[in-house]
């Protein structure tokens, strides 16, 4: 049953991760994501969302359990195999992960490194076809005019859109996004999520996105998975959920079992950002 079916993008089985000198970050997490699904991971900071996401493209190796992504066993994959997988998996970071001193275009171009041999530094070291593709991708996120502007002069929302354009260079079939809008103000957040959503639909991507704004998650995802202390405490389709149930993930009780304690211990999702 561990064999991923053709229509499965991600299959995580009994995944556990313990960092040296740290608590159990993931505790027997199992998760199957079919192709084309838009899934949102929610939970307090430290609940294991980012750790789970980083297992999916092999940035972190698990302590126990198996991870299958797009037909590749991430745990046993060799370096070459892992790189081949990463080429197909886009990753969007909370802090954008742009090289500030390079131009927006150069940052986008770096998304094609998986397809190239040898190191590159500077726009003209990339083939012309890739340069055009990079410009097109900047156009898709609405930043073609800023192509030759240094990344560290862009606004936060613009930076994240450049980062999205960078993952587009990979022509990914799976997109992992780790708190893509947590560092942004509401207006830029909405812009970035719009861009992301449009691309995901146009390109028919599978998406796993960690979010802490519950309203965003509800409005955007098809399925919501809640993590607490490294364990899955909620896994439901969005249409069968209401906001209160989702909010329970952030409280100290099991979702659906409301008690008076939850009021005392109320942790609003916004405190996640502060913490």
């Amino acid at each position: 049953m561990n064999v991923p079916q053709a229509e499965t993008a991600v299959q995580v089985t009994e995944l556990s991760k313990k960092f040296p000198n740290g608590p159990l970050a993931l505790d027997r997490v199992s998760l199957t994501v079919p192709k084309g699904q838009l899934l949102s991971l929610i939970g307090l900071s430290g609940s294991g969302k980012s750790t789970l996401l980083r297992h999916l493209n092999g940035l972190i190796q698990p302590t126990a359990g198996s991870v299958d992504v797009l037909g590749t066993n991430v745990v046993t994959a060799g370096r070459r195999e892992l790189r081949a997988l990463r080429r197909n998996v886009g990753f969007v970071f909370q802090s954008f992960g742009l090289v500030g001193r390079l131009t927006a275009l150069e940052n986008v171009l770096s998304g094609s490194l998986g397809r190239l041999r040898g190191p590159r530094l500077g726009t003209i070291t990339y083939p012309k076809a890739l340069r055009r593709e990079a410009l097109d991708n900047l156009e898709r996120v609405g930043l073609a005019a800023q192509a030759f502007q240094r990344a560290d002069t862009l606004s936060g929302g613009q930076m994240q859109r450049v980062a999205i354009a960078r993952t587009l260079m990979q022509r990914p079939s799976l997109l992992l996004a780790d708190e893509p809008v947590a560092s942004l103000d509401p207006e830029s957040s909405a812009q970035v999520m719009d861009v992301l959503f449009r691309i995901v639909v146009e390109d028919q991507l599978t998406v796993i996105c960690t979010l802490h704004q519950v309203e965003l998650a509800l409005g955007w995802a098809q399925r919501i998975v809640g993590l607490r202390d490294g364990q899955v405490v909620l896994d439901r389709a969005v249409d069968s959920l209401d906001q209160d149930e989702v909010m329970d993930v952030y409280r100290r009780v099991e979702p659906g079992q409301r008690s008076s304690q939850s009021i005392v211990d109320l942790q609003s999702p916004t405190s996640d950002r502060v913490a």
């Binding site: 742009l98 001193r101 770096s110 590159r120 012309k128 055009r132 192509a147 030759f148």
Partner: protein, 577 residues
């Protein structure tokens, strides 16, 4: 009225819970006291050991004045020669720095925690860095002259190998301080480790790289101007020849040329730093000097990335090439200029890279002959020599500190009494810093005679300039608010300096003092080469008679002592900062 609202005069009978009426002795206070006492004892011991005395100081002062009288006015009868050798000195510095950069790059990548392929590689690379830093370039040069013969070649290799220490260390630091996330992002698109390093780590560290290279070029010019003393090329040879034949006015002429060269280079490198790195964060030096004569001469180049109001550049969708902006033009121009400079340097000293590579073979051969080291033949003189070197360094640092703290205050714009004092102090510092320590030592020795005292005085002279500049820079960066508060209660200028400026600048002063001690120790090990006492004398003698295994023993001794003092200084710095 609640009693704790009363303002009470603190006296020993008042007990505040948790606060001892006497100042609490925290562990760092204890350390500070022990260090201070130990340093004081060490300085007193050292003072007596090298037979320094106040009467001797005054007599020495008279001797130097005497010699200066015979030096002035400087004569430039072989100015052509001096300029030719001065240029040779510059080319040597350029080539030496180039060698160091080429070698440092892989070493830094191996030594940085986040790029090293393996912990063992990291240990080896860090070992190379520590070793090459601990052995002064003049010692490298003296050894290589024996292997390669008199000329430019041993000099540039010595500069190159010694500079790995600083450049490699600072490159590695810059690499370690890069942001991790962009690299993770590039790795996650399926890039290899090297692709990720080139695309995300190198661009982040680049401003620090450039700043380090410029800084080292500055230092290497000072070094290469004295390498001639051991026959390793450059203008130092001419100065010593003049001194030997007692043509003091000619010697001062040569020193003037050296001074002009060094000062010009300092302006130039400040200007390049300002234009190339303005607004960038770097590890070395203040990246964008607010006031620099050089920057004013060159003007401030428009930095595209700082100007957000700039209309978006039009992109040619066909070629997608970066637009040829002023900034890109400037960077390309500087890049080309540096390449041309390196080529010109190699051609001017008629050195071809092949010859250089071949020379490393000889260098390796002479290095292997240093082992196994022979500690027994010259045991006593090695011990005496290293003790004398340490003593000289201690006394020189102490004397330098005595002069440089007030001098540093006068040269700090925010503390100086007025603009005139500030200007004069800065000009004075420029003069002191424009003459390398070893040249001052040679002059002092010519005036006073052989021995550790003139060597120590020369070091103290150099230290006062170097330290005063660092202190002045540190003082200029202190927070003005506590100072205003002190003035507001009616304090005088001197009260204010003691209660608010010095305490604020103290960590920087102590840290720079330790740094000066570190540098002085390295320099004091080479003073013996020009007759200034210490272990350098034994080294030079052993080299002359080709007792290379004794040279090996001296090198190991120097390395050990320098390294131990560096560790000690590092520990003290950590305790008190």
């Amino acid at each position: 009225m609640p009693s704790d609202l009363l303002i009470r005069r603190p006296d020993s009978t008042t007990k505040v819970p948790g606060v001892d009426p006497k100042r609490r002795l925290t562990s760092d206070r204890v350390v500070m006291r022990i260090v201070l006492v130990a340093l004081a004892v060490a300085v007193i011991w050292a003072w007596r050991h090298i037979e320094m005395s106040f009467s001797g100081l005054i007599a020495g002062f008279g001797d130097v004045q005497n010699l200066l009288g015979r030096m002035l006015p400087p004569k430039f009868s072989d100015l052509d020669d001096a300029i030719r050798l001065g240029l040779e000195t510059l080319w040597m510095a350029v080539i030496g720095t180039t060698i160091a950069v080429v070698l440092s790059f892989p070493i830094a990548l191996g030594a940085a925690r986040n790029t090293t392929p393996h912990p063992a590689v990291m240990a080896v690379c860090r070992g190379i860095i520590v070793l090459s830093r601990a052995v002064p370039d003049l010692i490298f040069a003296a050894i290589f002259v024996r292997a390669l013969g008199i000329g430019v070649l041993p000099g540039v290799i010595a500069l190159g190998l010694h500079s790995i220490g600083m450049i490699g260390k600072l490159f590695a630091d810059a690499i370690e301080q890069t942001d991790r996330v962009p690299r993770e992002a590039v790795v996650s698109v399926g890039a290899t480790k090297w692709q990720a390093i080139v695309t995300s780590v190198i661009p982040q560290a680049m401003p620090s790289f450039i700043s380090t290279v410029l800084y080292r070029l500055d230092i290497n010019l000072r070094s290469s101007s004295v390498l001639g003393i051991v026959g390793a090329g450059g203008i130092g040879f001419l100065m010593q020849a003049n001194l030997r034949s007692l043509q003091y006015d000619e010697a001062l002429g040569v020193v003037t040329v050296i001074f002009v060269l060094i000062t010009l280079m300092e302006f130039l490198s400040a200007a390049i730093r300002a234009t190339l790195l303005g607004g960038e964060r770097t590890l070395v030096g203040r990246s964008a000097p607010r006031f620099s004569v050089g920057a004013r001469l060159f003007g401030r180049v428009r930095r595209d990335h700082v100007r957000k109001d700039r209309p978006a550049a039009r992109v040619d969708p066909e070629t997608v090439r970066p637009p040829w902006t002023g900034e890109l033009r400037m960077k390309t121009l500087y890049g080309l200029a540096f390449l041309v400079l390196i080529v010109v340097a190699f051609r001017s000293v008629s050195l071809n890279p092949g010859e250089l590579l071949g020379a490393f073979d000889d260098v390796w051969r002479v290095t292997t002959r240093l082992f196994p080291p022979d500690f027994t033949t010259a045991r006593d003189s090695i011990i005496d020599g290293i003790i004398e070197s340490v003593a000289a360094a201690l006394v020189a640092t102490f004397m330098g500190a005595l002069i440089s703290i007030p001098l540093g205050m006068m040269a700090a714009r925010n503390v100086a009494v007025n603009r005139v004092v500030y200007g004069l102090s800065r000009i004075f510092l420029l003069f002191v810093r424009g003459v390398p320590d070893l040249i001052v030592a040679v002059i002092f020795i010519a005036a006073i005679g052989l021995g550790p005292v003139p060597g120590t005085l020369a070091l103290a002279f150099g230290t006062s300039g170097f330290l005063a500049k660092l202190i002045a820079d540190a003082v200029e960066e202190i927070n003005p608010t506590p100072r205003e508060a002190t003035f507001a209660v009616g304090a005088t200028r001197s009260q204010e300096i003691v209660t608010s400026v010095i305490p604020q600048a103290m960590p920087a002063i102590v840290s720079n003092l330790l740094y000066a001690l570190d540098i002085n120790l390295r320099t004091s090990t080479i003073l013996g080469i020009v007759g200034g006492g210490g272990i350098g004398f034994i080294l030079f003698n052993a080299l002359r008679v080709l007792e290379l295994r004794t040279v090996g023993a001296v090198l190991i001794t120097i390395f050990t002592v320098v390294y131990v003092i560096e560790l000690l200084a590092g520990w003290v710095r950590k305790q008190i900062l």
